[in-house]
């Protein structure tokens, strides 16, 4: 087990999201350079003042000695592409004349009507020959229905389909969940903003963000130009091990394909080079944000007390990817919307074991209503993220553990009670430590103990419905703390992560009978008490694009591993200690 403070806030190292790709007769996975903007809207750079051009964020070396290097992306860097099975060989001798070879493929959005569009079989009486596009073959491999497929990225794409979707946001190894959660908000509530901030020329992309002009005390647009390459981690032997930043969604189906026939010795192969649209916009915006941070500071010259340092302890400039590694979501709205931001803030979410999750969180309820559009002026949109500081997650675990220990039925579980007492002693030691390094080590011990408690099979009571759900509440906090500071490689029960930001996509307010509560700002004094914390829910999205709560280990509750999930209001109050929001003109 390795101590990695950054790991929980970053996407997993799993390769499960990587695209498949058929490779015959040679690897053809590297995508060509991008040449166009696809359906991206245009940004008028001339009207926007400052432009930062011609440079990518600086590279850096991570703690394991892997250096970053910008490189062209290919199918293996994205996710969602469907692998295609290899075709079977059919042994049959024939003389074949190729009509569309590799040099002159048939380009179609669908598929050819038959193999005869790609090659023709010559009469059997003809003398065998091997003259260029005509040859005697002994076997056929692949046909129109099941060809050899080589999957490639469509070089003209920025979006998949007609525009950006929240499913495109897929965090990588940079701890910028706060930024990507806001991107998830924006693309969910105001997708036109994303489309309007990106334009392309050749393989160069212009991303419009905003910086704070301190001389005029105003937000002004700025255009960041980046190329189509993305930073990849590279080992000291030169092997690329994965993207540094966000991945990108690949369309389920190709937008077009190049079909051709090709001789491989005495075998004829039917080939389909499939080109897939890729939602490359999200990693490009992230890359532009990293470059922007290098030039203007993490929040464009504003909120300097909150921004990441721009240099290391020796005064050397930090890579933009390091400068955006950790932050506050509510400060991002200005970066994206500039002067259109009307307000932004951080507000608390209160929790006490057995407490009133609704009554003590009226401000949260009000802001969830605003996410629904209640009380928001015409032409404005309210967006929100949620998170939990690691320290607060541990403090809540301590309080929940104390509450559990005070249960009358704990007398029946003396061994379990001793374990909980031991956990509390670990937490107490962590709480009392002033040295940051030692505190990190003690946090690791707390996390390890939490993991030992919540591991399925160790203490079945934590997976039971005993105690009116109190034990499951404890299990959720144990899972949160288990994943704080330690990279478990995705094993063990998963609730939400601490020090991680989640997009808020919506909320549903129901009463104890499951009926909708029509709450608004005029009636909230009376309707607040009708809102049932266990029946009402908040829809959230993990910017990982995966890693939904899965305490039972049987997969997401909705059977869709897309990062979108719901928690009831009580779980929300327990799992998050702050929400951050922005009100913008849209």
């Amino acid at each position: 087990m390795e101590y990695q403070q950054s790991a929980p806030t970053q996407a997993p190292r799993s390769s499960s999201q990587q695209a498949g790709g058929q490779q015959f007769p040679a690897v053809q996975s590297t995508g060509p350079s991008r040449t166009g903007a696809g359906n991206a809207a245009s940004v008028d750079k001339a009207a926007l003042g400052t432009a930062i051009t011609g440079s990518n964020p600086a590279g850096y070396t991570d703690g394991q000695g892997n250096a970053t290097k910008d490189d062209a992306v290919d199918m293996t860097d994205g996710f969602n592409a469907q692998a295609r099975p290899d075709p079977f060989a059919v042994c049959r001798e024939a003389d074949v004349h190729i009509l569309h070879g590799e040099d002159g493929p048939l380009e179609l959005s669908g598929e050819p009507s038959s193999e005869s569009q790609l090659y023709e079989e010559l009469p059997p009486t003809r003398t065998s020959s091997a003259s260029g596009d005509t040859q005697t073959v002994s076997a056929f491999v692949g046909d129109i229905a099941n060809p050899y497929v080589s999957q490639k990225l469509d070089p003209s794409s920025v979006f998949v389909g007609t525009g950006p979707t929240v499913a495109d946001v897929h965090q990588g190894m940079v701890g910028d969940c706060y930024f990507l959660a806001v991107l998830g908000d924006v693309v969910s509530a105001d997708p036109g903003q994303i489309a309007g901030m990106i334009s392309a020329s050749g393989n160069s992309f212009s991303i419009r963000l905003h910086r704070f002009d301190s001389s005029s005390n105003a937000w002004v647009p700025v255009v960041i130009s980046v190329d189509d390459q993305l930073a990849q981690f590279t080992t000291n032997t030169g092997q690329e091990t994965g993207l540094v930043g966000s991945s990108f969604r690949i369309a389920s189906d190709p937008s077009y394909a190049k079909w051709y026939a090709k001789f491989h010795g005495t075998t004829l192969g039917v080939h389909q080079d499939s080109y897939y649209k890729a939602a490359i916009w999200a990693p490009l915006v992230e890359k532009a944000f990293a470059r922007y941070a290098e030039r203007f500071g993490q929040y464009g010259g504003a909120f300097t007390g909150d921004q990441h340092a721009q240099t290391d302890d020796n005064g050397a400039a930090l890579s933009g990817y390091k400068q955006i590694d950790g932050g506050s979501a509510d400060l991002v709205y200005n970066v994206i919307y500039g002067a259109a931001v009307q307000a932004h803030d951080t507000d608390d979410i209160q929790y006490a074991p057995g407490g009133d999750a609704v009554g003590t969180n009226r401000l949260l309820i009000e802001n969830l209503l605003r996410v629904q559009g209640e009380g928001v002026p015409e032409g404005q949109t309210f967006m929100m993220t949620m998170g939990c500081d690691t320290d607060e997650a541990v403090a809540r675990l301590d309080a929940q553990t104390a509450s559990t220990l005070a249960r009358p039925d704990m007398d029946n579980h003396p061994s379990f009670a001793r374990e909980l007492q031991f956990l509390r002693s670990r937490i107490s030691a962590w709480r009392g430590e002033g040295d940051a390094t030692k505190k990190g080590v003690l946090l690791e011990k707390v996390a390890k103990e939490a993991g030992a408690l919540v591991t399925p099979g160790n203490w079945p009571i934590l997976q039971s419905n005993q105690g009116g759900g109190d034990y499951k509440d404890l299990a959720e906090l144990l899972s949160m703390v288990m994943n704080a500071s330690i990279d478990h490689g995705g094993t063990g029960p998963l609730h939400t992560y601490a020090s991680h930001s989640y997009s808020v996509l919506g909320a549903t307010f129901l009463d104890a009978q499951g009926a909708a509560v029509s709450a608004n700002f005029a009636n909230l004094d009376t309707t607040l008490s009708q809102i049932d914390p266990l029946k009402s829910s908040v829809q959230l999205r993990n910017p990982h694009g995966t890693n939904e709560p899965d305490m039972e280990g049987d997969g997401p509750a909705d059977h869709q591993d897309d990062g979108v999930f719901s928690l009831n209001l009580e779980q929300v109050s327990r799992s998050f200690n702050f929400h951050q929001h922005g009100l913008v003109r849209t």
């Binding site: 001389s215 300097t304 400060l331 998170g387 500081d389 020090s499």
Partner: protein, 250 residues
């Protein structure tokens, strides 16, 4: 209108009453709302009056009566907001002990901020933004007067002691810090942004660690500076908590 708070139940009723005034636009706009806080030491009482995003903003006058809010927080929003004769002592839950936002003006007088401790999370991922006191401008030319005040024994590595922040198009036209005593604080400096002019008058600082004032905007005109002080933190704390800390102050 005068609202008196003597208990937690009174506080909830006061919040509700003010909210009703914010959202009932059919009713005539009331005059200034005066809210009287509980007399003496009150543990664990937090109060949220007003809503910066509400369609109507009111004039709030929050008046202590020798009030010491122990581990309590105040969150006040209005067109104009004043806070007087209150000491906030100890660390309340949440990310900020005192937050005031206004579209026109705000003032703090005879306010003490004592022994508030906050911890700012750092590193990768998402962080709440911890503050001890935050003043938010939500109008284009907000006027601020801070003083007399006493800031004693507050702690927070990387946490602003006082953060002046413009919300949306909000800007502070002029901020006056007068008769302010900073003693034994180990928090990040006063953060000044979105401020046209900052005046420091009779401001003293004793045993402060690190930078005192961080002005991020070159457009800010800073007049005056903090003078070294020699006050004894325990004695000043004791005086503040006993309601005697501002004796002799204007």
């Amino acid at each position: 209108m005068v609202i008196t708070i003597d208990s937690a139940a009174d506080a909830a009723a006061a919040e509700s009453r003010v909210r009703g005034l914010l959202y009932d636009l059919s009713a005539a706009e009331p005059g200034p709302i005066q809210v009287l806080l509980p007399a003496g030491a009150t543990p664990g009482l937090s109060l949220r009056l007003g809503d910066p995003l509400a369609p109507r903003q009111l004039d709030l006058r929050v008046q202590g009566r020798g009030t010491v809010l122990q581990q309590g927080a105040l969150d006040l929003a209005g067109r104009s907001v004043s806070l007087q004769d209150v000491v906030l002592s100890g660390s309340p839950p949440g990310h900020v002990a005192l937050r005031i936002s206004a579209t026109d003006s705000m003032s703090l007088s005879r306010v003490g901020i004592v022994d508030v401790s906050k911890t700012q999370a750092t590193g990768p991922g998402s962080h709440s933004r911890q503050r001890i006191v935050e003043l938010q401008a939500r109008g284009p030319a907000v006027q601020v007067t801070v003083g007399p005040t006493a800031w004693v024994g507050n702690r927070g590595q990387g946490v602003p002691l006082l953060d002046l922040v413009g919300q949306g198009e909000g800007r502070f036209d002029r901020v006056t810090l007068v008769d302010a005593r900073f003693v034994d604080n180990q928090a990040a400096p006063i953060i000044v942004a979105a401020v046209g002019r900052l005046d420091l008058e009779r401001v003293t600082r004793s045993s402060e660690a690190g930078e005192f004032l961080s002005v991020s905007s070159p457009a800010t005109l800073v007049m005056g500076e903090a003078e070294p002080g020699s006050e004894d933190a325990p004695a000043l704390k004791a005086a503040l908590l006993a309601g005697e800390g501002f004796t002799g102050a204007p």
